[in-house]
Each structure stands twice: as C-alpha cells, then as structure tokens.
Subunit: 349 residues, 2 copies
C-alpha cells in the first residue's frame, strides 16, 4: 500500500481511477495537482487547467442551507483548485439537479451566489445543465489556462523550504462546528463567504515549490503534501498567526484548542505552499506590492510525518488518523466532531 493509500478516500479514488487509462497529454499523475494540467499541443502557448467538484454532503448534511452560500461555495471550490495550479480562469460550467423542495426563489438565489463568486474573480459561467431529481445536487467544472513555463502542482517541496498560507485559516471548520452542533450560533460579526485565491495563485506560480488549497482543512492539505513529497512538515504553534481571528474568538468562547480549527475536513480556500528561502524576499516584495500578506506557518524538513513545533519541542501529529476519522464517520457529523475532540484530549492540547 502506498503512503497515499493509507488514507481511505484516496483508496476509493484509486479504485475508480484504475479503470481509466492515464491520458498521455495530462502532465500530472492522479493526486498530484488540485486541477488537471493538460497539454493542448503546439497550437496553444498555454496549458489547459481543468477541475471538477460536486457539492453533495455539504448540502445533504445541512452544512450549507442558504442558497446564496451554496452557489457561492460551488463556484469557489472549483476556482480554488485552479488557483492552486496558478491558472487564470476561463470560466465555469455547472449542473444543477433540483427536487420539488426547491422553489424558483431558491434556485434564483443559488444562481446569484454562483454569479457573485464569478464576478468577484472577474470570470464567467460558460454554460450548464439543469435536471430534476430526488435531491438537490450541484457540480461544477472550472477551466483555466496556465503559461507553459509557470505550472504549479502539489509536487516540489524540499527540506529547508518555508511553509506558507495565503491567509489565516480555520473559519471553515468553525463555521461547520457552529452549524452542525446545532448551537444556533453564527460566526461573530461576519457572513461566511470564503474567496478562491486566484490572484495569489497567479503571483506564486513562478516562485512556489508546491501548492494545494485548504478546501479539506489545513491538516488534510499538509498531510497530503507530506505524503506526496516524502518530506516532514512542521507547523508552528503560533496560532494567532495561522488561525483567523474570528475562529480564535470562537475557540475561546467554546473552549476548543485552536489547532482543531485546522484539523476538521471543512476547510476554506487558502493556498498552502512551500517556498525556497532564497525566493522569500521576492515573494514578500511582490505580495506587498499587491497588498497581500502571506502567513509563514511552518517549515519542511528531512523525514516524514506532520509535526507541531512548540516551546517544549517538536510533537508528532497523527494526521493520517485525523483524516480517516472523517471517512469512517460517514454522515455522522456530530460523532466526527466528538472523535476529533477525543484525539485533541489524547494529544494533550
């Protein structure tokens, strides 16, 4: 079993994918990039970047019930995968399967959510397909272009690299915690509309070693990068820097350890990327010129595993176990949260 196959979700993907012949014009192998990078041949001076993402559990579990948020997240999840390979969006295709429980007003607001997310990124819905079915179900397919000499994938981390996030994380898991535990609480002082980091992806595509979005949570992302690159990933415990202030506020009020906001599978859409220290000055200068502040959250070292660096030393985190809790819990979201909290207690912080 490969290191990637220790994660249950990857085993299912692998089982489906083994029926498919690897496309000779696809630059990445399976799991190796957030979006597929396709060589269109000599007639094109860019690669095509394509990705597809469906919203199923997030809707059926009630995590997203506001139609505007559902539409927004559909577009954002897809464009975020383009951002992680440094692609410039060409547009989005959508399929909407609605049931008799969604009225015209609901479908209209959902379309506005998709449209607003596209407008924010200066891109477009190219087309779509509508169907009637038993359950609301949505899928998207985002298409982009990336210069042939500037592609970025999940591969390319090296020991000695710095580990960065495009912005503070943790809001996705805190939003899910508040929604799914039935607390009735909202995120204090904000509505949850995370943005795909397309501009940041474009800026780092010449500089980063590897990149991946945090759509399934930061720990999930770092665990994947660790397995693919066969390096050790060490996170700093400076949570005020890594975790969004609103997420930290909820942690304080709910008595949750801050790193748990990175451990759940409900991510946001920051980019997690590695950087050769020799390129750090150039990145920070370009970021500053663009009004963007990347967050240094850790480092890459020889070895394997995910660790947390604290004042007391470097502590190993069983990130494979944390990821598998979600797959094993299935639709039992409350059970999943309790198991995460159990692990946090054993982990002792």
């Amino acid at each position: 079993m490969s290191m990637m196959d220790e994660v249950l979700e990857n085993r299912l993907i692998g089982r489906i994918a083994k029926s498919f012949q690897p496309p000779p014009h696809r630059l990445n192998r399976i799991h190796e990039a957030d979006a597929e990078i396709i060589d269109l041949g000599e007639g094109s001076d860019t690669y095509l970047a394509v990705t597809t993402d469906a919203l199923a559990e997030e809707v059926s579990s009630g995590l997203y019930d506001d139609p505007h948020l559902i539409g927004w997240m559909l577009a954002t999840a897809n464009f975020s995968d383009l951002a992680a390979v440094g692609a410039d969006p060409v547009g989005l295709l959508i399929t909407v399967t609605y049931s008799s429980r969604q009225d015209e007003a609901f479908i209209g607001r959902l379309a506005e959510g998709i449209s607003d997310a596209c407008r924010e990124l200066k891109t477009f819905v190219l087309g779509g397909d509508t169907n009637e079915g038993k359950e609301l179900h949505l899928s998207g397919c985002a298409i982009g272009l990336v210069p042939k000499d500037r592609t970025m994938s999940r591969i390319g981390a090296r020991p000695g690299d710095r580990l960065y996030l495009s912005g503070p994380a943790g809001l996705g898991n805190v939003f899910a915690f508040l929604r799914l535990t039935g607390s009735g609480l909202q995120l204090p002082g904000m509505s949850y509309r995370p943005a795909a980091r397309v501009a940041e992806g474009r800026l780092i595509r010449r500089l980063a070693g590897c990149a991946m979005d945090t759509s399934d949570g930061v720990i999930h992302t770092v665990d994947t990068l660790m397995r693919l690159n066969q390096c050790r990933f060490i996170l700093n415990d400076t949570w005020e820097n890594t975790v969004h202030p609103v997420a930290l506020e909820v942690c304080r009020s709910q008595g949750l350890p801050p790193w748990l906001t990175l451990a759940g599978v409900h991510g946001e859409f920051e980019l997690c990327f590695t950087l050769d220290p020799q390129r750090e000055k150039e990145l920070l200068e370009q970021a500053a010129a663009a009004g963007w502040v990347p967050r240094l959250i850790g480092e890459v070292a020889e070895g394997d595993g995910v660790f947390i660096k604290t004042a007391e030393g470097i502590i190993p985190l069983d990130s494979g176990h944390i990821r598998n809790l979600s797959a094993q819990a299935g639709s039992d979201q409350k059970g999943y949260i309790n198991q995460l909290l159990d692990y946090a207690r054993k982990f002792g912080r």
Copy 2:
C-alpha cells in the same frame, strides 16, 4: 415570450441564466449550441468546446440500472454534445456521488462503462471528484477543440436545405418504453450502447448548416432547430429509413406507430443536421469514403413549425406540445407514455 420560451424546460434554464453575465469570449448565445464555444485568444489556433451533462432522472427512475450502461451513457451524453459542434475530444471530467446502496463492484463496473465509452472514441478521463451522498448522482464535463474556421452550432438552417440524421434513430425511446412500462422485454438481439458521433461531427463541421444531437429525441431536436432558425422543418414519413430496424420491430410487436419512437425524450446520440443541396455530393462522397451512410430524413422550408410529409399531404405536428408533455409529467413516466399515445391517437397515425 420568445419562441424558445414556449418550452417549459427552456424557461427554467433562462431563469437561472439571467443571473449570469454572458461571457465575452463565448461565441454562442444560450441554447444556440450543444457545447459552448470559447475563444481562448490569439495564443490558441483552436476554439475550446466545453459541455456538461448530469445523469439524474435516468438513474433515479430506474431507466438505467446496469452500472456499465450508466457509466457508458454519462460519457456518451457529454461527448455527443462535443460531436454536435464538430469538436475533437480532449477528454472528460466526472463527478460520482454514491450512496450506501452502491458497493465497490457497482462503482467498478460504472467506471468500466465510462472507460469503455472513452476508449471507443480514443479519448480519456482527465480527472474527477467522488462524494458520498443520499442518492447515486453523476455528472460529466467534456472538453474538446475545434478549428477556428470550422465551428458548427444549432444556427444556420436555411429554407431549401436538406435534413439529415447521422444514423437511424428511435432506439432510445424504445429502450425506455420497454424498461419503464415494466414489460420485462429487452431490445431484441442487442444490448443498448449508443455511441457519440464524434467522427461524423468532425466530417460535417465544414459542410453542415446547423447540427444538434438527438439526445432528447428527434422531435425535440427538430423542434429546437425550428425555433432557433425560424424555418419550417418537414420530416418524411419513410420510417424504414429514419427509424432503427430494431425499434421498428418493437413498434410492430407492441402496436406502436413508428414516429412515436422519435417523439419521446429518451433519445440516442445521432446528429441531426441541415445541408445546402450544393454540398450534398461532397458530403456523400466523404461519408462513403469513411464507410458512413447519412440518412436523408426531410427538408427545411420557409415558415415555421414541424410537419410530416405523407402521401396524403403535409401534416402539422404540435412539437411544442409533445415536448411539454415530458416537463409536465415530471417523474410520472407511465403517465407520460400514455399522454404521448393519446396524442398519437388524436394525430391519427
């Protein structure tokens, strides 16, 4: 209300689409092509063709229950839309949402169905997304390229044109009739695996006036072309030429009028296209060289509406009514078939 909006399904699509800004780089307007034609700019010497199609009702109604057929139809439906704009496939993206009712063997056979359909067309699955949900749900997104001087769309029929099909039609509706009426009968002597007409689309893209696939049935397709091109479409009643011999055999054994195999919404994936008579010789020569026999099924004239040309004269067919029967019936497939048969009796043939 526009002529397109007289059809209920189009009104819903229009309502969703009005939230979306028309993409400046999309060559077609909504409804005007089976796949979206996107200008990638001067860096590319081809247009991108993209389309998305979900399988929802076909699975939840039980029309498709064999996992290999489900996978095959997902790929075929998407590539057929590429064929109708004359595009060369680059590949397919898929989303698979499975429930606890699908086991690993089912998912494996489904993947094989997708893979077999791709292999038949010498193309590939580029990537995908898997999710767990309450119902089995599939969507696909096919991507292709089309030379800039050879695009084809649903627009371009002119009075005087000949009306062609890439091959005999009617198998889709006969398959659905046998499955959904619970007769337990199979298509005699064959298993149902319609193919996307990619090679034929490539051949006609320089020659055809307009083209559209018959995925929702021939009458639906002809009705759409009639509304978009504002011409009269006249079908010949030489059903031995237009309707597949196996479909004719089922019609005889079940006492159904042959034209009804063109009227239901369960189409196959032939291309329906118009042709300037001056280009007929060239088309037929090229088709013969490729071992392909296009079927002449009618003609285009001044006026509007869909008609059937019989020995007794030219009879109008209320194709808008026929199309709306499906939307009004919703998931009541038996009621839908009975209403189609009612119309056939009123229509007197």
